[in-house]
C-alpha cells in the first residue's frame, strides 16, 4: 500500500496523541454521532433490511467463491463494450499501467474521482514522480490534498477537520493550486462548498484524462458503477476524453440485478441517505457520450492473500460504506490516522493486516485495536463479522501459522513482543486446568488482601493509570460455598 504509512508506530502509540487532542476528539465525536442517528433512521425505513443485508452477503460470498470466473466474464464484457482491461498483481504494476496510459495521451494532469484503490496504491505520488499532477476533486479529498494531510476516514477523509480548520486550509492553500479562495470566506459549510466549486471548475472543464475507482462492476454486462454526492464524479466520468478506472478485483458482482441490493444498502449505510445525489453507470464507451477511451485496471495487491484465508476472506465483501467507522467507539477516540492505513476503523483493522501482512509494527497491532464490542458487525450491510476476523488475526500475530503472502504459501512465525503474553496465557491455562491450583492462588490473594495497593507499578500501570483496582474479597466464592454448603448453613 501507499508509502505514506511506512514506519508507522503501533496503534496504541499512534492513538495516544488523538486521545489527548480535545479538538480532534470533539470533531470526531460530533461527526460520528451526527451520522449514527441518521443512519439508524434511514435503515429503519426499510422493513426488509435484514433480508437485504443477507442477500448482499450471499451475493458477495458467491462472487468471491467463483471470483476467477466472474473476473474473466467481466473482462470479456468490458472489452466487448469498447473498453480495455488491464491486470495488476500489485501496486507498482497498477501505477505503472496508469502512468503509461496517461503519458500516452500526452497530458500532464488528471482529475480524480475519490477512489480508495488509488489511495491504497499511492497513485498520486507515482504520477507526480513521472511529472503528472493528479487533482483530487472530492471535497474531503481536496481538503486533505491542499492541507498536505492524510485521510482519516473512508467516506470523509477530512473528518478530523472541522469547518474552521477547512476554511483556513482553503484560504492558505487554494491559490497555490489554482483559483484562490474567495475574499472573506467564512466557515459556513455552504460557502466552503462554493469555494470548492469555483476552485475545481476550471480543472474539470479543461481535463482530458479522468481517473476513477468503482463501487461495483457488473460481470454479465461490463457495467461500472460510481456512487457519489457532489457531481465531481460525473465531471470526471463524462467530460474527459480518456477515463481510467482502478478497481479491486473484489468489486465485481455477477449481474445487473445485484445492484438492486447494494443501491439500497450502500447509501443508507454510508451517508444515511435514501439515495446519494448522483450515481453513474456506464458500459465501456458509448457513442458520443463521455470518454472515447476507457481503461479498467483490475487490482489484486494482497486481495488474493485475503481470499486464501478461510476466516479473513469475508472482509472482501466490504462495499466501503464506512458505517463501521461511524459506530466504532475506538475509532471515535483514536482517530483515523492511528490506523496507519487508507483503511481506518474496524474494517481497516481487518483489511490492512491482510492486504499488507502482519510483519510491520502497525499491522501487527491493528487486530488488537478493538474492544470487540460488536457494533461494527451489527451495522455492516454485508454482515462482515469483524470481531471474528480480528480475533483470528490476533491468533495469527500471537501464534503465527500458515498464511498466503503475495500468492505464496508461508508459515508465519509468532510476532515479536508476545513472548511474555504467551507465557502468561500458558501459565493461566495450566492453573485453569487444575481447580485446586486456582483455589490456592485465590486464597493467597485473599490472605494478602490488605497488602494490595489500589494502583500498580510497571506494566500494571496500563490498568491502574486510569482505574483503581478492585478490592480482593475475604474469601473466594468457592470457599464460602464449601464452608456454608451453598448458603444452607446460613453463612453470608
Amino acid at each position: 500500500m501507499s508509502g505514506t504509512f511506512v514506519g508507522m508506530p503501533a496503534f496504541p502509540v499512534a492513538a495516544r496523541e488523538a486521545v489527548h487532542d480535545a479538538t480532534l476528539r470533539g470533531n470526531l465525536r460530533h461527526a460520528t454521532h451526527t451520522i449514527r442517528a441518521k443512519r439508524a433512521r434511514a435503515v429503519g425505513e426499510l422493513s426488509d433490511w435484514a433480508r437485504l443485508r443477507e442477500a448482499g452477503r450471499r451475493i458477495k460470498d458467491h462472487t468471491l467463491r467463483h471470483l476467477d470466473r466472474y473476473l474473466v466474464q467481466l473482462e470479456e464484457s468490458v472489452t466487448a463494450a469498447g473498453g480495455t482491461v488491464h491486470w495488476a498483481a500489485d501496486a507498482a504494476e497498477a501505477n505503472r499501467i496508469v502512468t503509461a496510459l496517461v503519458k500516452a495521451t500526452g497530458e500532464s494532469e488528471v482529475v480524480k474521482v475519490k477512489s480508495m484503490a488509488t489511495q491504497e496504491i499511492g497513485l498520486n505520488e507515482a504520477l507526480e514522480a513521472e511529472g503528472v499532477r493528479a487533482y483530487e476533486t472530492d471535497l474531503a479529498e481536496l481538503i486533505v490534498q491542499l492541507g498536505k494531510d492524510r485521510p482519516s476516514h473512508i467516506l470523509v477523509p477530512a473528518i478530523h477537520r472541522n469547518r474552521g480548520e477547512i476554511r483556513d486550509v482553503f484560504v492558505r492553500e487554494m491559490g497555490a493550486w489554482g483559483r484562490p479562495a474567495p475574499e472573506g470566506l467564512t466557515d459556513a459549510p455552504a460557502e466552503l462548498a462554493e469555494a470548492a466549486r469555483l476552485h475545481l471548475r476550471e480543472k474539470f472543464l479543461r481535463a482530458k484524462v479522468g481517473v476513477c475507482g468503482a463501487n461495483f462492476m457488473v460481470a454479465e454486462t461490463g457495467t461500472l458503477v460510481v456512487v457519489e454526492s457532489e457531481g465531481n464524479g460525473r465531471m470526471c466520468l463524462t467530460l474527459p476524453e480518456t477515463l481510467i478506472a482502478v478497481a479491486g478485483i473484489e468489486k465485481v458482482v455477477p449481474s445487473w440485478r445485484d445492484l438492486e441490493v447494494f443501491l439500497q444498502t450502500l447509501p443508507r449505510s454510508s451517508t444515511a441517505e435514501r439515495m446519494n445525489p448522483y450515481t453513474s453507470t456506464w458500459t465501456g464507451t458509448a457513442d458520443e457520450d463521455g470518454p472515447r477511451a476507457f481503461h479498467l485496471v483490475l487490482l489484486d495487491n494482497g486481495r488474493t492473500d485475503a481470499l486464501a484465508d478461510r476466516v479473513g476472506r469475508q472482509a472482501l465483501r466490504c462495499i466501503r460504506c464506512s458505517a463501521c467507522l461511524n459506530v466504532c467507539p475506538v475509532y471515535e477516540r483514536a482517530g483515523g490516522h492511528a490506523y496507519g492505513s487508507v483503511y481506518p476503523g474496524p474494517i481497516g483493522a481487518v483489511l490492512s493486516p491482510q492486504l499488507r501482512g502482519t510483519a510491520s509494527e502497525i499491522d501487527a497491532s491493528l487486530p488488537y485495536a478493538s474492544s470487540l464490542c460488536g457494533a461494527c458487525y451489527e451495522v455492516c450491510p454485508v454482515a462482515i463479522d469483524i470481531p471474528e476476523v480480528l480475533v483470528h488475526l490476533r491468533e495469527r500475530v500471537a501464534q503465527g501459522g500458515p498464511a498466503v503472502r503475495e500468492g505464496n504459501r508461508v508459515v508465519l512465525r509468532p510476532a515479536r513482543g508476545h513472548a511474555a503474553e504467551r507465557a502468561a496465557m500458558r501459565a493461566a491455562g495450566w492453573v485453569f486446568a487444575r481447580p485446586r491450583a486456582l483455589r490456592a492462588g485465590q486464597r493467597l490473594a485473599s490472605r494478602t488482601r490488605r497488602l494490595h495497593p489500589r494502583t500498580l507499578p510497571g506494566p500494571g500501570r496500563a490498568w491502574s493509570g486510569a482505574r483503581d483496582l478492585p478490592a480482593v474479597p475475604v474469601e473466594p466464592f468457592r470457599d464460602w460455598w464449601q464452608r456454608t454448603r451453598g448458603g444452607k448453613d446460613g453463612g453470608r
Binding site: 496503534f11 496504541p12 492513538a15 495516544r16 486521545v19 476528539r25 467507539p329 475506538v330 477516540r333 483514536a334 487486530p367 488488537y368 478493538s370 474492544s371 470487540l372 464490542c373 460488536g374 457494533a375 458487525y377 451489527e378 480475533v391 488475526l393 490476533r394 491468533e395 495469527r396 500475530v397 500471537a398 501464534q399 496465557m425 500458558r426 493461566a428 491455562g429 492453573v431 485453569f432 486446568a433 487444575r434 481447580p435 486456582l438 485465590q442 490473594a445 506494566p459 496500563a462 490498568w463 491502574s464 493509570g465 486510569a466 482505574r467 483503581d468 483496582l469 478492585p470 474479597p473 473466594p476 466464592f477 468457592r478 464460602w480 460455598w481 464449601q482 451453598g486 448458603g487 453470608r492
Partner: protein
Amino acid sequence: MRVALFLTCVNDTLYPDTGRAVVALLSRLGVDVDFPMGQTCCGQAHYNTGYRHEAEPLARHFADVFRGYDAIVTPSGSCGAMVRELYPRMGERARAEGRGDSLAAALAPVVHRTYELTEFLVDVLGVTDVGACYPHRVTYHPTCHGLRGLGLGDRPRRLLEAVRGLELVELPGADECCGFGGTFALKNAEVSAAMGADKVRNAESTGAEVLCAADNSCLMHIGGTMSRLRTGMRPVHIAEILASTQEEAAA
C-alpha cells in the same frame, strides 16, 4: 431440573457477593442450584487474545464439569456468549484444521444449556418480578456481549422495572462500549480509559446512585474509573439488585 451455577473465574475470585446473590435469588425462586467445584475458566480471555488452541482444553474442561446439568446459569453476558457463540466456532475451526469432530462433539452438550442469568429468569423460569426491593436510583448499562452477542434485549430492563423502590433512569449512550474489552483494557489502555471516562460521565449525568450491569468485568473497569474520578456512584451487578429484599433494604 438440575441447575448449575457457572460463576466465572473473575466472579469467583473477586466478586463472591455476586455469586452469593445468584444463589440467594435462585433459591428464593425455588431453584436448587449447584456449584460444581471443578469449574475454573471458560477460556474467553485466551480465545479473544489470539490463543484459541490454549482455550481448547479449558473449553473441554468446562464441558466435562457441566455436562450433567439441564441448565447452566451464569451472571456474565460475556462468558455466556463465549460458551454459546464461540464454543461452536471453536469446534468448526478444529474441524477445518483437519482435527475431526471431537472438539465440536465434546462442547455441543453445554452450548444450548447455557443461559445468562436474566435469560434464565425471564425465558426459563418465566418471571420478571422476582420479589426484590431496592430503593435506589439506578441506571442500566447493557454490556456489549450481552446486548449484541446474546441478544438479551429488554430482559434486564423488565426485571429491573419490577423491583420495588427502584427508580430506573435512562443512561445516555447506553449502547456504547465501556471500553473494557478484556486485554484491550491493557493493550490499548488510553483509548480504553477514554471510553471508560465517557461512560462514567454519561452515568453521572443521570443523577443515579448506582450503575447496574450484568457483567462484573465491565463493572470492574467502570467502577475503577468511577473511584479514580471520585464520582459518588457505585457499580452493582444486576444479580445483587435482584437478590435484595425488603429486610435488607430496611437494614
